[in-house]
Point group: C5
Chain length 95, copies 5
Amino acid sequence: MILGKVVGTIVSSTINDGIKGSRYLLVEKTDQYGKKLGDYLVALDIIGVANDELVMVTEGSPSRETPETVSKPVDALIVGIVDLIDENETVVYSK
Amino acid sequence: MILGKVVGTIVSSTINDGIKGSRYLLVEKTDQYGKKLGDYLVALDIIGVANDELVMVTEGSPSRETPETVSKPVDALIVGIVDLIDENETVVYSK
Amino acid sequence: MILGKVVGTIVSSTINDGIKGSRYLLVEKTDQYGKKLGDYLVALDIIGVANDELVMVTEGSPSRETPETVSKPVDALIVGIVDLIDENETVVYSK
Amino acid sequence: MILGKVVGTIVSSTINDGIKGSRYLLVEKTDQYGKKLGDYLVALDIIGVANDELVMVTEGSPSRETPETVSKPVDALIVGIVDLIDENETVVYSK
Amino acid sequence: MILGKVVGTIVSSTINDGIKGSRYLLVEKTDQYGKKLGDYLVALDIIGVANDELVMVTEGSPSRETPETVSKPVDALIVGIVDLIDENETVVYSK
């Protein structure tokens, strides 16, 4: 999984994903300190994430392994909002 | 998913993909502002995209998760035409 | 899918792929003009491609989605020989 | 598989992975000598790894091929703690 | 598939792969001439490869498509030992 911050929304009325009311977010990758890295991807949000929240994103086939995404053409999924990250016993990120 | 603009068509009469009348497009990756990045891929189009439209592309195995592409050797699929992108509450791309 | 030109053959008598008479080709990636990029991969050929032909290659799991490759350990498959590529309404490659 | 050292923990109370008590670790990639490379990923730990241990990480779909991760949206899994690495008949890493 | 030379062994007594007696090798990627490129990965060996042999490695999900690796968390598999490579009708590598 990778870390990223939600920075925007992609609207596509023609989306052919078979998911009712799917919501695609623009995610900017970050390091473990929440610092943005200037590298972006589009990920499906099924948990309701707010702008600027730090999230974990699953990429590739495993994105399909939730009840909402099974057998859907989705290759990036936000799986959780990060509360806290520690590195070498020190808290380096806190929500 | 990644963002890209359709810039061309690939014609292959010998294509061995098992998809009747499959249409492969040359897609140039873009950023969220629709700016082309000089990086290209070939993606299957099953929704009917016109030249220069901004699209969302799914890569890898999830490309097979539509009725048209199930069990087909396709690793990149155009899943939707982008209408609008907002970044930090500002519209940065509009069709 | 990516574009590439066939530049050679890989012979492996011990190949453990379960495909009878499998033929692996050395493919050099190209841009949409057929210009070689100095980046190589090994792909399975099941359609009979000649040296220097421009081909489309599927990567990853979707490579297994043909009758010949189903349930086989193949991660790159030549799916078609390219006849023609147009970019912005201009033919940029022709066989 | 890739090699990496465990350097931290990611806490996400909202994680939507369907795995009870899942534990995600921050892993810094290393070379075969255990030297850290400054490149990080988040991987699921189901074997109980301690901080600074050198581990093998499986990426992508195969991460789901354990009883704990089957049909789960996990794209990186710690599969083992490395005891020893030899390179050209010389031990280059030992736990 | 990619080309690489076997340069070492990874020993992990705690490996959680469900494969009895699995053997993981350190593989250094090479070009088609067998020249080492300084880029490494860890791959499962089920055919019995010796040190310094040039091999073909399958990556990702297709690694699971052998009787020994089916439903196992393996993302890189040595599928064959290379006997010969020709490029543009010239033999550029021979075992």
